[in-house]
């Protein structure tokens, strides 16, 4: 969708002062060995990207071209994440716009090219993995640092506000952890000056950063946006299957969802959920896997993509 033509545009004059550079940038995700991985290029923490060019048929196909050229990784599902503009740079006569995309794929080729570099996203966001309980660093490091930050605010209204925001984002003060708030958490840490990018951007070096690998420019924020979007999307649209092999067991499926969500889920209930929504069908085969009773193998029912597009109604409609 969003790919058919725009009509009836007035002819344009030549390039003008307000023209901008448009960059395409991709968060490419695969789950490898129960770890949610993101594709970076070279040895640096850099997301694959490139300029949008005349030759590209559309923005999406531009993303495909760049990623496949630079990493050799073919992409499956793609969706747009967000578009943002550079902040003014003094003396610059041009600005750049970044259009970010989320892409899902499978790493099948064991021959990991040097161009292709997969890394767990929890290297960048160690506070996001709650599969073995809340990480110690959340209580030991983030909580005191964030509370300090709150406490150092100028007025008491701001102090309370910061406390509350930290509490909501990280589940302090008896609040529940919400895995979908990945972006808010990163932005809060940035605002509090607790990630390297913040001190780097502002030229200050005062605060010691919190654990978690930084990325170039604002790539870590884009990655956080992708994680948040994916964690929210798996709940109402069957996108997980883009990350699965053609045939899989229900536990493999569960582990994949757990990897993305960063939390453990209840096995019996998860199975019922999947079966009840008729997302999968048995292949008839069973797997001869590591340890335990052989598991039935399933495949994704591609038909569900057509069928319902799950209503998702929350409105109490009349005379139903």
């Amino acid at each position: 969708m969003h790919d058919h033509a725009k009509g009836n545009r007035k002819g344009r004059a030549g390039r003008k002062a307000n023209d901008v550079k448009a960059d395409l940038i991709a968060v490419v995700v695969a789950v490898i060995n129960r770890d949610p991985c993101v594709l970076t290029i070279g040895l640096e923490a850099v997301l694959p990207s490139g300029p949008f060019e005349l030759a590209h048929r559309s923005l999406q196909s531009g993303v495909r071209v760049w990623v496949e050229q630079r990493t050799g990784q073919p992409l499956g599902y793609i969706e747009q994440l967000y578009t943002f503009a550079d902040r003014d740079r003094i003396g610059a006569d041009e600005r750049a716009i970044s259009i970010s995309y989320l892409a899902l794929t499978r790493e099948e080729d064991a021959t990991s090219s040097t161009r292709r570099c997969w890394g767990t996203w929890y290297d960048y966001f160690p506070w996001e993995d709650h599969r073995s309980g809340t990480p110690a660093m959340v209580g030991d490091v983030l909580r005191p640092r964030l509370f300090d930050w709150a406490h150092n605010a100028a007025d008491s209204a701001t102090r309370l506000e910061r406390r509350r925001r930290a509490g909501v984002a990280f589940g302090f003060d008896d609040r529940a952890w919400n895995e979908e708030l990945a972006l808010q958490r990163y932005e809060l840490l940035y605002e509090a000056g607790l990630v390297e990018e913040a001190t780097r951007d502002h030229g200050s070096t005062a605060l010691v950063s919190v654990p978690g690998r930084p990325m170039i420019a604002d790539h870590r924020r884009i990655l956080a946006t992708g994680i948040a979007r994916l964690r929210s999307k798996i709940k109402y649209r069957p996108v997980v299957f883009e990350l699965m092999p053609p045939v899989f067991t229900l536990l493999q499926l569960q582990r994949t969802v757990e990897a993305l969500a960063g939390r453990l889920i209840n096995k019996p209930n998860f199975r019922r959920l999947v079966e009840q929504q008729e997302l999968v069908e048995e292949t008839g085969e069973t797997s001869v896997e590591t340890g335990g009773r052989p598991a039935k193998l399933y495949r994704f029912r591609h038909a569900v993509l057509d069928e319902s597009i799950a209503a998702g109604t929350k409105l109490p409609l009349a005379r139903g």
Copy 2:
């Protein structure tokens, strides 16, 4: 969010062949007299828009500037909708990118400027208003035309596929109507050549269009995107209040939601839903309105924006 700076960019060379023009374009919504209205400029069916300029602090502030300059309408809530590129135009050496936004506001000023022009969005999408039952045109016009289109497909697989897509989008064949599919419906009609924009874009004049006012360029598709987004969003985020006066009755609130959703909702259940989620609080006053018993007046509890950010969990978490 998404407004802090990008760091460490390499210096850029001067303008290059791949630079593009970036347009900002806004779907500005208000509900006036129980009708969901969209802001257009002049007498034409044109959404307010303008180029992104060096002077703008960010994309969002650029949208605010343009809309307020062109229409005098102050904007409240704003969110990004989608970014897309023009299709190649033969011989063009430049392309344009459109970044579209959804904005919510209230029309308070009864002195409707000539610059400001509000029109029901159901003028553009008459098939979307199901508040008085399914519009006759859906069964009388759209259904036969879409079935013809399906029937005229080259192969039988495509015929079936088209039938199914039409059925899902418009609720044919005993399917339920889903108000969130506004964009799919428009795109289906475009693909079937049943809206003016389609024949205009392809230079053909063969088919007679279906009722519904066309817009310039692809503005109608952008509007459909905004409608779909808003219809989906009101279900899980309290954005309706951006469209309400500071103080209102529960029935006014219900009518506003109904206007947006294009369907009637059940009064008692709606009230419970609102009260249960503690979205509003009584002002203590009652309204002396048109006909019937005086209604309690409510105001939005802005606190809810902070509090929960409603989990929206669909995963069966373990040992919760």
